[in-house]
C-alpha cells in the first residue's frame, strides 16, 4: 500500500471504511493488481457463446480479453493483444470466427489462442518458436452457465471460490421455469464514481423506497407491494463467504420451485397467460409467469457481478472515479411460445434498468453524489454498520441480518481487506 502508515485493516474496519477508498488512485491501482488480477472475474454467460467459433469481448479488470468457444466446445479467455507488436485482435463486441488475424501484420491465432500463421516467415527463422507465442490465456471455468476467468494460475477452483453462493446460483437459474437461461440484450452505462459504490449498491436494500420512489409510483400495485420489503422481517441478507452475499427482497420467490399454488399470478400478465395457455401446460405457464420479475433476491458475487432479480449487473473499473456497468437482460431459452415471455421481460428490464429507465438514472445520481461527497475529508469514514447489532448466524452459519442492513457490504469489504493485505 502506498500510504505505508495506513494498512488495509485501518482503511476497512468491520463497521466503517475510509472515504479515501473511493478517491485514492494508488488504492485503485492496488485493487486492480491484488483483486481484479488475482481472483475469479465474471466474463460471460454461456448463452453468449452458443456454438463453436462464437466469441465475445470482455475485460478482466482493465485488461481487454476475448472469450471464445473452440471447435470442441471448450471455453477460453484470451488476452486481446497480439504477441507481435501488441495490436488488439478483435474490436467486435461479439460474433463468430474461425480464429483471429491481427490487422497489422496478419499474424493469425486459433480460437484457443495458438499462433497459427506468420506471413513472410523467413525473417523469423531461428528467431522465434511459434509454440511459445500463443495469446496469453487466462484460466477459465464456469458454474451454472456463469463463466469466470482469472490471471492467477494458483487460485482455488471456481467452485471452491463460489462456495455457498453456488446454491443461490442454482436458485437464480430457476427463473427459466425449467428451461435454460439466455441473454436477451444489454444496457451499458457509466458513472463518474468508484466501482465499490456500485458493488455496495446491489446489496443496499436501504436506498430502495427513497431512490426508487418514482419507479414504485409507476408500477402496478402488485409489483409495488412485492417490493415493499422495508418492514418485512422475513426479508433478510446473508453473507455467504469470500465476499459474496445474497439479499432476499421477496423471500417467497427465493426458491421458485417452492410454490404452494396460493399466490395469484399478477393481473398485468393476463394477456400473456391467455396466450401461453393455448400451448403450454398450466403448471408450466405458472412457472414462467411467476418468474417474470426474476427471483426475489440479489446475489452479489465479489468482485464484479451481481445476479439481480431478473438480470445480471456487471461492473468494470475504469479509473478510481469512473465505472462502467452492464445490465444484462435474461430470459428462458425455450420454445417459440416463450418469445412473448421474453418480450415482456425486455419491457420490464427497459422500465427500470436502462440509462433512461425509471430506476438506473436515480441510482446513478446517488452514486455520483457519493463520489463527489467523498472528496471532502477523505479519511472520514463511510459507515457500513447498519444492523451490526442485530446480525445473527443463520442455521447454515451465514451472518444474517435484515435486508436493509449492510451485511453484504461488510462481507465485501471483509474480502477486500483480505485480498489487499495478501500482496
Amino acid at each position: 500500500m502506498s500510504h505505508d502508515t495506513t494498512t488495509p485493516a485501518e482503511l476497512a474496519a468491520a463497521d466503517r471504511v475510509a472515504g479515501r477508498l473511493y478517491t485514492d488512485p494508488e488504492i485503485f491501482e492496488g485493487e486492480i493488481s491484488r483483486i481484479f488480477e488475482r481472483t475469479w472475474v465474471w466474463v460471460a454467460h454461456e448463452s453468449e457463446l452458443p456454438g463453436p467459433g462464437t466469441f465475445k469481448s470482455a475485460h478482466v479488470g482493465r485488461q481487454p480479453v476475448i472469450v471464445t468457444r473452440d471447435r470442441k466446445g471448450t471455453l477460453h479467455t484470451l488476452l486481446n493483444r497480439c504477441r507481435h507488436r501488441g495490436a488488439s485482435l478483435c474490436e467486435k463486441p461479439k460474433g463468430q470466427a474461425n480464429g483471429f488475424t491481427c490487422p497489422y501484420h496478419a499474424w493469425s491465432y486459433g480460437l484457443d489462442g495458438k499462433l497459427r500463421g506468420i506471413p513472410y516467415p523467413e525473417g523469423y527463422e531461428g528467431v522465434i518458436e511459434k509454440g511459445e507465442l500463443s495469446l496469453k490465456k487466462l484460466r477459465t471455468e464456469s458454474y451454472g452457465g456463469m463463466v469466470f476467468a482469472t490471471f492467477h494460475d494458483g487460485i482455488e477452483s471456481l467452485e471452491e471460490f463460489l462456495g455457498d453462493a453456488k446454491l443461490w446460483i442454482d436458485r437464480f437459474m430457476k427463473q427459466g421455469g425449467g428451461y435454460p437461461i439466455k441473454v436477451l440484450g444489454k444496457h451499458r452505462f457509466k458513472f463518474r464514481g468508484n466501482w465499490k459504490i456500485q458493488l455496495e449498491n446491489t446489496t443496499d436494500g436501504y436506498h430502495f423506497p427513497i431512490v426508487h420512489r418514482s419507479w414504485m409510483a409507476s408500477v402496478d400495485a402488485e409489483t409495488a407491494d412485492m417490493m415493499s420489503f422495508m418492514t418485512d422481517p422475513s426479508a433478510i441478507t446473508h453473507a455467504l463467504g469470500n465476499g459474496h452475499s445474497v439479499m432476499q427482497m421477496v423471500p417467497g420467490h427465493s426458491d421458485l420451485d417452492a410454490d404452494d399454488g396460493t399466490e395469484p399470478l399478477q393481473g398485468r400478465f393476463d394477456h400473456l397467460i391467455k396466450d401461453l395457455a393455448q400451448t403450454l401446460e398450466p403448471a408450466q405457464v405458472r412457472k414462467v409467469v411467476r418468474a417474470m420479475h426474476g427471483t426475489g433476491f440479489n446475489l452479489n458475487l465479489f468482485p464484479n457481478v451481481s445476479m439481480s432479480a431478473a438480470f445480471f449487473r456487471v461492473l468494470r473499473p475504469i479509473s478510481v472515479d469512473e465505472t462502467e456497468i452492464e445490465h444484462i437482460a435474461i430470459g428462458p431459452d425455450g420454445p417459440p411460445e416463450l418469445d412473448a415471455v421474453n418480450r415482456e421481460r425486455l419491457r420490464i428490464h427497459e422500465h427500470f434498468q436502462g440509462p433512461f429507465g425509471f430506476g438506473t438514472p436515480d441510482d446513478a445520481e446517488g452514486w455520483d453524489r457519493v463520489q463527489r461527497g467523498a472528496q471532502g475529508a477523505p479519511d472520514m469514514p463511510i459507515l457500513v454498520n447498519r444492523g451490526l447489532a442485530r446480525e445473527k448466524a443463520s442455521p447454515e452459519g451465514w451472518p444474517t441480518s435484515h435486508v436493509t442492513d449492510e451485511t453484504g457490504m461488510r462481507a465485501a469489504y471483509g474480502q477486500w481487506k483480505e485480498m489487499m493485505r495478501d500482496a
Binding site: 444489454k186 433512461f356 438514472p361
Partner: protein, 170 residues
C-alpha cells in the same frame, strides 16, 4: 424483362408539407430542452411511439432491448416521473441544448411525412459537457386539426457503447 425503376425526384425541404414536419421537429426539440414535458407529450398521437434502440440496425423494437420504447402509457408515466419531483435524476438533470438539422424528407404524402435528421445534443451538468449525437427519424401525421408525431426513433451513434445514465429525454 426487369422493370426499370426510376427513383422519385427528392422532395425539397421547401415543400409546404415538409415545412410543417420540420416545424414540429424543431418545436419538439425546444420543448425537450426546456423540459416542458407536459406540452411535449401532446405532440404525439395516441398510437405514437418514442424509441431509443440499442441495436443500430433493428426495426424490431418489440423483439429487442431498447433504451426507451414508449407507447402512450409509458410516455405518460415517464412524464409523470420527470415532473413529479421524486426522481432525483430528473430533479438534478443536466441542462441540454440540442441542434436538429440536416433534414431529409424520406417520404411525403398529404397525410404523413417521414423525416430524417441529425441531432447534436450537449448536456451540461456539474462542470461537464456530454455530447449525444444521433440520427433521428420522425413519422409525422399531417392533419388540419394539428400535426402529430406517430413515431420518433433516436439512433445514437454510440448506442451500443456505455452512455451516461440520463435525467432528460433525447
Amino acid at each position: 424483362m426487369p422493370e426499370t425503376v426510376t427513383a422519385p425526384a427528392p422532395v425539397p425541404t421547401t415543400d409546404p408539407r415538409v415545412v410543417r414536419a420540420i416545424d414540429l421537429a424543431w418545436r419538439e426539440a425546444e420543448l425537450l430542452d426546456r423540459k416542458d414535458y407536459e406540452t411535449w407529450i401532446g405532440l404525439y398521437t395516441d398510437d405514437g411511439s418514442y424509441v431509443i434502440p440499442i441495436d443500430p440496425d433493428t426495426d424490431d423494437f418489440a423483439g429487442t432491448l431498447n433504451m426507451v420504447y414508449d407507447d402512450a402509457r409509458m410516455r405518460r408515466m415517464r412524464v409523470t416521473r420527470m415532473t413529479e419531483g421524486y426522481a432525483i435524476a430528473a430533479v438534478d438533470a443536466a441542462r441540454t441544448v440540442r441542434t436538429v438539422s440536416r433534414f431529409v424528407p424520406e417520404s411525403v404524402t398529404d397525410d404523413e411525412v417521414v423525416l430524417r435528421s441529425a441531432q447534436v445534443l450537449i448536456a451540461y451538468k456539474r462542470g461537464r459537457h456530454d455530447i449525444w449525437a444521433a440520427d433521428l427519424v420522425h413519422h409525422i401525421r399531417l392533419s388540419p386539426s394539428g400535426d402529430r408525431i406517430v413515431l420518433k426513433v433516436v439512433r445514437l451513434v454510440d448506442s451500443e457503447d456505455a452512455v451516461p445514465a440520463a435525467g432528460f429525454l433525447l
